[in-house]
């Protein structure tokens, strides 16, 4: 992979065909630029309603930080969908079945070393308030919280031994998003788009769809580009209204026709400027960026136009139910975006505005909290997996589901559970991963990961591998060394990549 130059000349990073022309001594003529603009003009059509053809692929863009770059080796998947359950999902009440908890309900967790919880002090062991059943050919045990996901277990590979380093929401969210528990590091999505660019030049390469109720802990720093160029930060798509901030001018202020006339004049002015300053690719890139923005005005709403989906599809994602509708919309958007070549989509369930209610942070009451959130996401997630599969997209899409940590097998305040970075369940699907398997194990109570502990670095290394990137070779020079998403660690999970 060509590593973009990063030391101080980032503005000269993207050498375009036009630069090459200059370097050959031709200089940019008005003609070449007019051709470029003419081409863009044609491509700008969709905003004017001429169909969606121009919303896919490179759309004639030759100069952008998001042009597709070759992978290190054959990629198993083209896109990534990350489903982040904000607040901490209890593994022992969902996918990590622990019959021993029934037996030891009300007893102390003893003889296992010091038990540290986030708030106060630990309570006794608590059985799950939910029943578990076996699903699919694999016979995977799943609790009553996830009957629909239960229906697709044979597509999912469960990891019961994920383990993080911090008992804190923010720090562990950083860890699973950036590999570091310190603020300021680039997110997985930023690394991926930095490494691979995007298949679609008319839409952002890395899209984040937060819970409509609000953002997660620390908000945008969870999809920040950190020390990578800012272009690689996640772009928020909102689930209602215009998906992107400032996608359109305020109502009635500037018509599409006015925009077009302005952009034509802008291109003329910029062309004069480019002619006076030949050989500087960022100047021509800026011209393209306006045409791309203009196209995006049409392409982005089209990409998330859920109304155009069939009723059957909408039902499949749970849009017919008030509780599951919001996440269902997020999931349909995700499918539509990866269908159009967007490289990374991250969906969040959980918003911190009303932390104990709106996130999975079930300190007070597992049933109240998880009951609600599972209903929000169960149907939509099953719908997403099924829909991707029937459209033939599942094989080329990596879906990863997790949280920032698991929860304690102990009770808190009677019927709640406190944070537990010691064991979390992660599942992955698509990308040709063998479904129905269970990887690693937590101890008999689900307190700590015990067999085949999987760290965030391991998960990230594996995710990168599946999209054709060697985590040790994807580097960016910063702060005196070649930084990696996986720092100096990261082992591939053999059952996933095998």
């Amino acid at each position: 992979m060509t590593k973009p130059e990063c030391n101080g000349k980032s503005q000269r990073r993207f050498i375009s065909r036009r630069d090459l022309l200059h370097q050959a001594g031709e200089g940019i003529g008005g003609l070449a630029l007019a051709m470029l603009l003419g081409q863009d003009r044609l491509l700008a059509a969709p905003a004017e309603g001429a169909g969606k053809q121009a919303c896919v692929g490179s759309a004639g863009v030759t100069d952008s930080p998001f042009l597709p770059k070759p992978p290190h080796f054959r990629a198993r998947a083209k896109s990534v969908i990350s489903l982040f359950m904000c607040g901490g999902v209890s593994q022992v009440d969902t996918f990590d079945y622990k019959p021993m908890l029934e037996k030891f309900h009300g007893k102390l967790l003893e003889g296992k070393g010091e038990v540290t919880v986030r708030q106060g002090y630990p309570g006794p062991l608590m059985k799950s308030p939910y029943q578990f059943k076996q699903y699919g050919k694999s016979g995977k045990w799943v609790s009553d919280l996830f009957p629909n996901v239960g229906g697709v277990v044979d597509e999912l590979a469960f990891i019961h031994s994920a383990q993080g380093r911090s008992v804190d929401h923010t720090l562990s969210s950083y860890e699973w998003n950036t590999g570091s528990i310190i603020a300021g590091f680039p997110s997985v999505g930023s690394w991926v788009t930095y490494g691979l660019g995007s298949e679609n030049q008319s839409l952002p390469a890395f899209v984040v769809i937060p819970d409509p109720r609000g953002g997660p802990f620390t908000g945008a720093s969870q999809w920040s580009s950190g020390f990578l160029p800012a272009a690689y930060q996640g772009t928020i798509f909102r689930a209602a209204g215009d998906p992107i901030l400032d996608l359109h001018p305020p109502d009635g202020s500037l018509s599409l026709e006015q925009q077009r006339a302005e952009l034509d004049h802008l291109a003329r002015m910029n062309q004069n400027y480019v002619e006076a300053h030949p050989g500087i690719s960022e100047l021509t890139a800026r011209i393209s960026s306006y045409e791309l923005a203009y196209r995006m005005q049409g392409c982005a709403p089209e990409a998330v136009d859920i109304d155009s989906e069939s009723d059957e599809t909408k039902r499949m994602y749970g849009l017919d139910n008030k509780i599951s509708e919001p996440f269902g919309r997020q999931c349909i958007m995700a499918r539509r975006l990866v269908e159009r070549g967007v490289r990374v989509v991250q969906l969040w369930n959980g918003a911190v505005v009303n932390q104990n209610v709106d996130t999975w942070d079930a300190h007070n009451n597992i049933v109240d909290n998880h009951g609600r959130h599972a209903m929000e996401v169960d149907k939509p997630i099953a719908g997403l997996i099924t829909d991707l599969k029937r459209r033939g997209l599942l094989d080329e899409t990596l879906v990863a589901w997790h949280s920032e940590f698991g929860r304690m097998p102990l009770s808190q305040k009677g019927v709640g559970r406190d944070h537990n970075p010691g064991a979390m369940t992660v599942w992955m699907a698509g990308a040709g991963i063998k479904g129905g398997q269970t990887i690693g194990a937590s101890d008999e109570f689900g307190w700590k990961a015990e067999q085949q502990i999987v760290t965030a670095h391991d998960l990230h290394a594996t995710m990168l591998h599946l999209i054709g990137v060697d985590h040790k070779r994807l580097t960016y020079h910063y702060s005196g060394r070649n930084m990696r998403l996986t720092d100096v660690a990261g082992e591939l999970i053999p059952q996933i990549v095998g």
């Binding site: 101080g8 000349k9 980032s10 503005q11 200059h22 370097q23 001594g25 930080p65 102390l108 630990p122 006794p124 062991l125 804190d168 923010t170 720090l171 300021g184 952002p204 609000g214 620390t218 908000g219 720093s221 020390f227 160029p229 272009a231 992107i244 901030l245 400032d246 996608l247 001018p249 109502d251 009635g252 202020s253 500037l254 006015q258 925009q259 006339a261 302005e262 004049h265 802008l266 002015m269 004069n272 400027y273 006076a276 050989g279 500087i280 100047l283 800026r286 306006y290 923005a293 203009y294 932390q355 007070n364 009770s411 305040k413 009677g414 580097t475 702060s479 005196g480 060394r481 070649n482």
Partner: protein
């Protein structure tokens, strides 16, 4: 040992000193193999592996220091099978047959010849002459001192500190700058200013032609945007163009350097380095309420042209200097401004280590361009900085406690504190009465709450205490903490009480309100630091003393959080390798590391004197570090700062990695120039303005950017050697300021708490901030200069965010310039910028009258500081005509934001390349 001068840095940039020295041993015929005339010494090849697999560091538990250790192998088994290279892991790795291939990036792969030597050596039995060791040059070079047994080198557990030697000190950045006379060049134009001589000589060497001088209109716009970040008015442009004085340009530069807006522009550059923010970041992003005083301090320091050495000392140790001032204690905000979790920090001792890491990293990257942070867990892989050096640096910061320095005379602040404490004590007493009043009600409510719990929990409560099982005891303890007076979000709600009690409670509330009104206003304070002992941090709302923290008293430590005058102050010890993650009882077994400077810069023991004039006991550690950095003898300090100045003026540095002058940074493109500037900087009394005067009066700075020369472009496409003035995109803040200054709307109110630019409510309500974000209107109150906008770590003003404003949690050495569609969307569609276009059009109408041609001409003068060409004028008029024709047929517009044809033209201009670039 002298370095062979012909060995220059390899393209990959990681040939560290030991490798250079190893290569220098390779002379033909010196091979131990002796069979092949060109053969290289296998030990010299294996020396390349020592950094990661040597005596000091054994990655994957493999040492390659001796034949025995190679046979012993590491995690993946034996490294060599004598007599069989093909079966040897070492051979398989260096050939890439087994991944990962070795040496690992960023080290270059071995050459085919080197691989052949290793193969031959293994196949021949992998013999080493008696007792032969492969050693890294760190040890070879320091032949007078041996690593083992050297008392000054730390050995602890598996850690063996590497020896820093004179070879390490040969790196360019560690040698004192050498001032050479400026070269004389053929063209006299370049012989007047020493800067030009250095630049032109390099151009001649590279065969580059230089651009002619820019015209005056270009120059004045460039100088304004560069120095004050605002557009010159058309009148100022005209006056400059007509000024016949030979000193016209010099006077212009002087005038701009004296402008109060200069600091607003240049202070921002430093705020990037200082990772400035008004919020704590992490989960809650609480307000750092007084941080803005540090921001104003920086702006003022630039405006006053505070000598840079003084600027350094004040920021690191403004509280420890002989006569601290309100300014100097405010400056210590530099140390305190990093991101903070600010939640149960006492329970998580590791947080403090992360904070100190931030301090050490920001200080040494910011002032010394060294990445000491790389040595947190092991000796630096590339630069001569040991892990012990890192802990020596941490020991300097380990004395810090956060402190709000009063910005009023001490007795006034004492009076305030006494009055406030008295009133607060009364309030507390009344609150206790309220609590007592509510207690019986809470007890009743709890019964109701308990009835909702599962039966086994109720049973636990009903079981007499002495008969409860251990599990039941825990349950009762847990459930007893359930507060009955809170909603789902643990927000307290008011408990219902009977009418008589309600009257009493109301009365209490009335008393509290009255007392609160009596609370005196808190005098201003500076958010800084001072020395103290963090181990005795009092418990506060942010630092609740709950479980999990370390009770240092239990380990026999005695001390005081803030030592008073006359107290014996013993700084808390810094234990080697401690991270706050381990058990303190274990961590404190490690050797105590004394504070000190980096060995490579300051060999020997660091002498630190206690300041004698300080108003309270303080260690003097930060002051010693500050004075060491601010010394004219420090080889890095002046170079680092002149490089930042150069970077800001030319959009690229002489060293393109301003925070890293180590081996993983880049080398100076013009070392003689860098050294000359660095020595000049010191000679000029560390005056930043003087350096700018010098640079801006150079021919190099005055060159045109609109210049094309095919041969030069081919030879130097990135303009590294400045054969033309590089166009630079304005920073996010300056784009916004320039737009506001074009429309005439800019509100120049300076200083004070940050303002909040208007954003949609939805992005604020969804944000993870418990600090303030005021929803504001797009009106004069928010049309202030961008440097005064509140900087949150968890929520950026979206326009700043898309235009590459850096992450405020890490020191930023240089702004990225990315070009993406969301920038176009923001500038083209955002309400603020539409309104500004409208206001700009109104200004044209006001100032140029109703004739369209006159308005267009004025538009060009305001925004581009130049006249519109005939062609541009004609194209603009054509645009206006077409737009007017189209508008007659268009539907009703948003009266408030609709654009007239002239508004549309202004909107286009504000979006144009020429507007957002410095030419």
């Amino acid at each position: 040992m002298r370095l062979p001068s012909r060995i220059t840095r390899s393209w990959i940039g990681v040939l560290s000193a030991w490798a250079v020295a190893a290569l220098s041993l390779l002379t033909p015929g010196s091979s131990v193999l002796g069979q092949r005339p060109q053969a290289q010494n296998v030990t010299a090849i294996l020396a390349k592996c020592q950094q990661c697999h040597g005596e000091t560091v054994q990655m994957a538990n493999l040492s390659m220091a001796s034949r025995e250790s190679l046979l012993k192998g590491g995690n993946h088994g034996a490294a060599i099978v004598p007599g069989n290279a093909a079966e040897s892991l070492l051979y398989q790795r260096i050939t890439g047959q087994v991944k990962p291939a070795m040496p690992m990036a960023p080290f270059p792969a071995l050459s085919a010849e080197e691989i052949a030597v290793v193969k031959e050596w293994i196949d021949a039995g992998a013999a080493m002459s008696g007792g032969q060791q492969v050693s890294s040059t760190a040890n070879q070079a320091g032949s007078t001192e041996k690593s083992a047994g050297d008392d000054s080198l730390l050995v602890f557990g598996s850690y063996r500190e590497r020896k820093i030697t004179d070879v390490d000190r040969q790196w360019w950045a560690f040698k004192k700058p050498v001032r050479a006379a400026a070269p004389r060049v053929a063209d006299e134009r370049w012989n007047k200013n020493p800067v030009d001589g250095f630049v032109r000589a390099k151009q001649e060497e590279k065969g580059l032609s230089a651009a002619p001088a820019a015209d005056r209109r270009t120059l004045i716009r460039r100088a304004y945007l560069d120095l004050v970040g605002l557009l010159p008015t058309p009148a100022e442009v005209d006056a400059f163009v007509k000024d016949s004085s030979p000193r016209a340009y010099e006077n212009l530069v002087d005038k701009l350097l004296a402008s109060p807006h200069y600091g607003e522009r240049w202070g921002r550059m430093w705020l990037d380095v200082a990772r400035y923010s008004d919020g704590t970041g992490y989960e809650y992003d609480y307000d750092l309420e007084e941080a803005w005083r540090y921001r104003d301090y920086v702006i003022k320091a630039f405006n006053q042209d505070k000598p840079y050495n003084q600027f350094i000392v004040e920021q690191l140790a403004g509280d420890e200097i002989d006569k601290p001032t309100f300014d100097s204690v405010t400056a210590t905000g530099f140390v305190r401004l990093g991101a903070r979790v600010f939640d149960r920090d006492l329970e998580n001792p590791n947080y403090r280590f992360d904070y100190m890491d931030d301090m050490a990293r920001t200080t040494l990257q910011g002032f010394q361009a060294l990445t000491v942070n790389c040595a947190r867990c092991h000796d630096h892989k590339f630069d001569p900085i040991t892990r012990k050096d890192y802990y020596k640096t941490l020991a300097i910061f380990n004395t810090f406690v956060e402190h709000d320095h009063p910005l009023v005379p001490a007795d006034e602040f004492t009076r305030y504190e006494k009055t406030a404490n008295d009133i607060n004590a009364k309030i507390k007493a009344i609150n206790q009465k309220t609590t007592a009043l509510e207690a019986p009600y809470k007890k009743e409510l709890f019964k109701v709450t308990l009835a909702k719990f599962p039966l086994d929990i109720q049973e636990a409560f009903n079981t007499p205490e002495e008969k409860r099982t251990p599990g039941q005891k825990l349950l009762v303890a847990q459930v007893s903490t359930v507060r009955v007076s809170e909603d789902d979000n643990e927000r307290p709600t008011k408990i219902k009480v009977n009418d008589a009690d309600e009257r009493t409670r109301k009365d209490f509330e009335g008393q509290i309100d009255a007392l609160k009104k009596q609370l005196p206003k808190r005098p201003p304070v500076a958010m800084g630091i001072r020395d103290g002992d963090f181990r005795f941090t009092p418990h506060t709302p942010f630092q609740p003393g709950t479980t999990g923290g370390i009770t240092y008293e239990n380990f026999g430590f005695k001390g005081k959080y803030l030592p008073s005058p006359g107290d014996q102050y013993e700084p808390p010890p810094m234990y080697f390798a401690s991270t706050g993650l381990g058990d303190f009882a274990d961590e404190m077994q490690a050797p105590v590391i004394e504070p000190g400077f980096l060995t490579v810069l300051a060999p020997g023991k660091t002498a630190i004197n206690r300041p004698v004039n300080a108003p309270y006991p303080t260690s003097g550690r930060r002051r010693a570090l500050a004075e060491f950095i601010a010394s004219p003898d420090n080889p890095l300090t002046a170079r680092v700062m002149v490089n930042r100045i150069w970077y800001q003026h030319f959009g690229q540095g002489i060293v393109t990695t301003p925070n890293n002058f180590g081996k993983m940074g880049t080398q100076p493109s013009n070392p003689e120039l860098l050294d000359w500037l660095a020595t000049e900087f010191v000679q000029q009394g560390w005056s930043i303005k003087q350096m700018q005067r010098l640079i801006m009066n150079s021919e190099t700075y005055k060159m045109a950017s609109a210049y094309y020369q095919a041969d030069s472009l081919a030879k130097d496409p990135t303009d590294q050697f400045l054969w033309r003035f590089p166009v630079k995109r304005l920073e996010a803040e300056i784009i916004r300021d320039a737009v506001l200054s074009a429309s005439g709307d800019l509100n120049l109110e300076a200083g004070g708490p940050g303002f909040f630019p208007p954003v949609p409510k939805s992005i604020v309500t969804g944000a993870s901030i418990r600090g303030t974000w005021l929803l504001t209107k797009d009106d004069p109150s928010t049309w202030r200069r961008s440097v005064y906008a509140n900087v949150k770590r968890n929520l950026k003003y979206p326009m700043f965010e898309v235009f590459d404003q850096p992450n405020a949690s890490l020191s930023c050495e240089r702004r990225d310039v990315t070009t993406v569609a969301t920038q176009a969307l923001t500038l083209f569609n955002n309400e603020t910028f539409l309104r500004q276009a409208q206001h700009l059009a109104a200004r044209l109408q006001r100032e140029a009258g109703s004739a369209a041609a006159e308005q267009v001409k004025l538009l060009y003068r305001i925004t581009f500081s130049r006249e519109a060409s005939a062609r541009e004028l004609q194209q603009a008029l054509e645009f206006l005509k077409n737009r007017a024709a189209a508008a007659t047929g268009s539907s009703a517009q948003n009266a408030e934001l609709g654009l007239s044809p002239m508004g549309e033209l202004a909107h286009v201009v504000l979006n144009s390349n020429e507007f957002v670039y410095i030419n």
